[in-house]
Subunit: 428 residues, 2 copies
């Protein structure tokens, strides 16, 4: 058995987890998986990390190019992140005939085709299980066990930060601000939480999942995104009252004429398996034409869970190297499906209006909804505040375009103060 040599680029949170797992389990992997894997080169911009991880100095470099140029390295692990330096590193490694394992969702969501094509050209593997759902096996199952299915939908809770915040807001009544502050304090949110709370992280992940599930490339800029910043505690309370929970959902569905893909706060029935996914946990719900409904649940972030996925990929590639069968499963995007405009979406809508507390409001609003063909499933009028009343509508299935048009008109009504919120309701 020959030792498969790995060059690790990026020694941050996930990188240090990879070092830990491979040093703890190297001998186990020989017996358990039949491969001997050793990290022989380490690269990071910060030299301090080499010492902190107790790495041999002569194996360390601050220049990623040294790792790629090392003829002994079989596999390059890219854990730099982002689409700048990382893109060059990955493409250079592939061009040098190394297989690549990455956790880089941004790279795969924006430059997936380029990277997959390069791997194909050079006859090597590119694997990225850790890019979505941390340690949860989801890319492997989609490309292997579930490959016999035409996947019809993927619904993901794929951002642990926002799921933690929404759980605290729903279960403990925290405001958005308090939930964010707590998430930051506990290390679940960055100082600049934009990528999480604005849904960008989730959008990159659903772009990757859609591409695999529907065999058609979807990129990050194609995903309409709405984050959780404007979610009000009252919306969460009304949702609860009506038997729903609000989750930041990453949704991808196969629809007439293409793919419906989006990220936004979503009301789902409280008895749906996704509704009980709480705290920093992630879950991906996959519907296939043969398998029916399946769900994959686990820790979506953290050093060891993500490193678990990275090392799983490394062992897989090492098996391929050992058996001489690299590039067994490359890019699977063989179709060209259009990403549908979100205006075409047809679903139910939750709408909260702030209105004048006077007669005729309900009639006026109902008439506008009616004119736009939006029919109402239920109305709750309950709270009267100093400034007026609050009315909550849930519509029957209607098109996004009609609902938006109706709400523009409704907002202009004399008796209406403002549209407090619009939340899509998904019947999974």
């Amino acid at each position: 058995m020959r030792t498969v040599r790995v060059g690790l680029i990026g020694l941050g949170t996930v990188g240090s987890g990879v070092v830990e797992i491979l040093s703890r389990h190297r001998a186990d992997f020989v017996t358990r998986a039949g491969v001997d894997v050793e990290i022989t080169r380490f690269a990071d911009r910060s030299e301090e990390r080499f010492a902190a991880l107790g790495l041999p100095a002569d194996a360390c470099t601050t220049d990623a190019a040294d790792v790629i140029a090392d003829p002994d390295v079989d596999i390059v692990i890219e854990l730099i992140g982002g689409t700048g330096v990382a893109r060059g590193v990955v493409l250079d490694a592939l061009a040098a005939g190394k297989s690549v394992v990455t956790a880089n969702k941004a790279l795969m969501a924006s430059h997936g085709r380029e990277v997959m094509d390069a791997a194909d050209t050079h006859g090597v593997d590119i694997m990225f299980e850790a890019a979505v759902g941390g340690g949860i096996p989801i890319i492997g199952p989609l490309k292997h066990s579930l490959v016999s299915n035409e996947i019809t939908a993927v619904y993901g809770i794929v951002n642990g930060t926002t799921n933690y915040m929404l759980t605290r807001m729903a279960e403990n009544g925290l405001s958005y601000g308090a939930a964010l502050a707590e998430a930051q304090e506990r290390g679940f949110a960055e100082a600049d939480p934009t990528a999480d709370v604005d849904g960008l992280d989730a959008a990159a992940k659903i772009a990757i999942l859609s591409s695999i599930a529907f065999n058609s490339r979807v990129t990050f800029p194609q995903v309409p995104v709405e984050g959780i910043r404007s979610l009000a505690p009252e919306d969460i309370a009304y949702a609860f009252e009506m038997g729903y929970v609000i989750k930041l959902m990453a949704i991808a569905r196969r629809v007439e004429g293409g793919i419906d893909v989006r990220v936004h706060p979503t009301m789902i029935r409280e008895d749906h398996p996704l509704a009980s996914v709480s705290g920093v946990y992630n879950a991906i719900y996959v519907v296939g034409d043969s398998v029916g409904e399946t769900m994959f649940f686990g820790e979506g972030a953290g050093s060891l869970p993500a490193a678990s996925a990275v090392v799983g990929d490394v062992i897989e590639v090492a098996r391929h190297i050992q058996s001489g069968c690299l590039a067994l499963v490359g890019c699977t995007c063989h179709e060209e499906l259009a990403v549908r405009d979100v205006g075409e979406l047809v679903t139910e809508y939750y709408v909260r209006l702030l209105v004048a507390d006077e007669p005729g409001v309900l009639a006026a609003v109902a008439s506008v909804f009616g004119n736009h063909g939006v029919s109402i499933a239920s109305v709750i009028q309950k709270r009267t505040t100093d400034v007026g009343a609050e009315i909550v509508y849930v519509t029957h299935r209607a098109s996004e375009r009609s609902v938006r048009a109706a709400l523009d008109e409704i907002e202009a009504l004399e008796v209406v103060d403002s549209v407090g919120s619009i939340i899509r309701v998904e019947e999974l």
Copy 2:
């Protein structure tokens, strides 16, 4: 691209699903997975099934040996079930150099080593994703994405029939008998429900899962089993009152000195993700040293879900055949861990006693528990019936041996009528 030829043996529920998927998606698999797979031979004892499925007569045979002897067949799918004929068919197919895909849990749980060794000897693949959890990807993830983990525990709800019955008993107050009758009426239970309600089906599945998770062979006869026949509605009601649900759990844990494996009704906290797995759904909860807690959820039975897993395996083997890398991952049982006696188990216990409604009972029972070192976490005494009273105890963690010994003595007390039930409480 050469066509990979498949011989399908057994045209029952799952077999007809395999025929359906491969005829519906053959062209998709060429573009999506890069393999062209065709079933060229069909075998079944009943000729009527050939016509019912509209199969070409010259491709059909009532003798499985014809399929194995066919030099054009690359992959044999064995869907006969059981350990008699099926064992011979699988071993003969492997000896003839065919890779085998099977859904046969009994075979893999009782003769797994023999079958895996034969595949290894002949340099072909044996795959069996459908043997556990129907369409849920679980064997693939354990052997691939999660391979970097030392798995510490597997908790499975792996029998849909009993989970359906327990759901109906808990949510709708049905008796065991009524729940069974309904399950039979709806096609979820066989006329002879033994394999399901006595936990044998679950035991075979956890034997397979333990073998993979702990890299050490566990066989069906090694799994202590207790089914759900004696579960009383009162136990379900008491569990609910205390914040638990009762599930038939298949459990496998890595413990000091070996493997703790067993199947029995189990009380788990109502807020655990497994607690909300209801109806015929299955779920497998896997804990790994790096990944933490993960769960795989989906339909555990049914024609198409199981066929989804079978065809997934077939496509995987076809990829291997096409790339000349069969037998990439063979048997992974490289250790020899002992299966621990269930008497060594240390957990919490729920005990329901039927006692005389007179003073001194609590003291007498408490004294016996105390003598055996079993300490009590909570006591409920509530119902008084014509014949006496009912007392429910939940113990602190104690050894099975001590609890059983204490209960033998308690049952012999003059003031105690009988031990109504003993249910293990698992803190996941």
